[in-house]
């Protein structure tokens, strides 16, 4: 099954102006069928207006063993969070 229909990661953009977000994965023989399958599996309830599919094998992921050294050092740097000023409503999505 996976030899003829490899795994693809699916990204959907819910609306114009927003970024594509990862929604899941699926099996398909090639990129054309992967896009159609993504449309059929992940956009049945009006979830979006644009789809990206990426071969899962093309994704380089961070090493779970390095989670501590990658992510924990940011925990005490609260000055990086933009919480010290108010964002005007007119700005919309940040």
């Amino acid at each position: 099954m996976t030899a003829t229909t490899p795994l693809w990661e699916v990204f959907i953009r819910p609306r114009n102006g927003l970024a594509h977000k990862h929604v899941g994965s699926l099996h398909a023989a090639d990129e054309v069928m992967a896009l159609q399958a993504a449309r059929d599996v992940y956009t049945r309830r009006g979830e979006g207006n644009s789809i990206w599919v990426v071969p899962s094998a093309a994704i380089t992921a961070s090493d779970p063993d390095q989670t501590a050294e990658n992510f924990e050092p940011t925990a005490d740097k609260i000055y990086r969070h933009p919480t010290f000023y108010e964002i005007p409503d007119e700005v919309g999505h940040m």
């Binding site: 099954m1 229909t5 099996h27 054309v32 069928m33 159609q36 059929d40 599996v41 049945r44």
Partner: protein, 248 residues
């Protein structure tokens, strides 16, 4: 009543093919197609519902879409024979879908100019759905035809089995001819060139040849069906007939 009969033929095509696709639910070769086929089936059943409802109102005898779908027998069903053909395997199902959508897309595009407002409304929605069905089923026909030895043999078998049902798509019954003359529905025979072109393009990529039909099987519009339709209707109608008037 010609308009009623003509709309019923069209609605029956959509309901029966929609039901055939629904038979794959839970049985498809892969999860992705287990959603794709019922998705297409729901497109067709949605179209059938609007057409039944409209036909029932024009008839003026108080028959609802449920009455028309669930309380008519085999001889009263006027769908073309192509849509009732059994699913057989995935290749048969995809080719049948491709043939039907390749006909219905230009049909609905032409129906955008119908004199009937409801038909125009259905056409606007359905032509997009049919464009997708052509694309999805067409891509599968290409991959099956230009795939493995087994997939190529299966799609060739499907072409062999289904091509005698193609010509009936382009026939217009007396009722349909009246509706066509009134500008309510498109003239079926006019769509042949577009259908031929759509199929030729996909078949070229699929390494398939279109056989010339030695004869064409007809009869659906007169209510003369293959025995498989009786089985389909029995399954589709059993709940409604066992519990008349039941509601969700």
């Amino acid at each position: 009543m010609a308009v009623f009969d003509a709309l019923l033929e069209l609605a029956d095509d959509h309901l029966i093919l929609g039901h055939r696709l629904s038979e794959w639910c839970g049985h498809a070769p892969m999860l992705e197609e287990d959603l794709a086929m019922p998705n297409m089936g729901l497109d067709l059943i949605g179209t059938a519902r609007t057409l039944y409802d409209h036909a029932g109102k024009l008839e003026g005898k108080g028959r609802s879409e449920d009455d028309l779908a669930y309380l008519r027998g085999e001889r009263e069903y006027r769908n073309c024979l192509l849509v009732e053909r059994p699913n057989e395997d995935f290749a048969h199902t995809m080719l049948r879908q491709f043939y039907f959508a390749a006909f219905m897309r230009p049909y609905w595009l032409a129906a955008l100019n119908s004199t009937d407002e409801v038909v125009r409304g259905v056409a606007g929605k359905a032509e997009k759905e049919m464009a997708y069905h052509i694309r999805h089923a067409g891509e599968w026909v290409i991959r099956l035809g230009d795939g493995t030895e087994e997939s190529a043999a299966r799609i060739r078998d499907a072409v062999e089995a289904l091509h005698i049902y193609v010509d009936e798509l382009f026939d217009s019954s007396d009722a349909a001819q009246e509706a066509e003359a009134a500008g309510l529905l498109p003239v079926r025979a006019d769509l042949r060139a577009t259908w031929d072109r759509t199929v030729a393009e996909v078949f070229a990529e699929a390494l398939l040849e279109q056989p010339t039909a030695a004869y064409a099987q007809r009869g659906g519009r007169q209510g003369i069906h293959n025995e498989t339709l009786g089985h389909l209707l029995a399954e589709m109608q059993v709940v409604h007939r066992a519990h008349p008037g039941a509601r969700w």
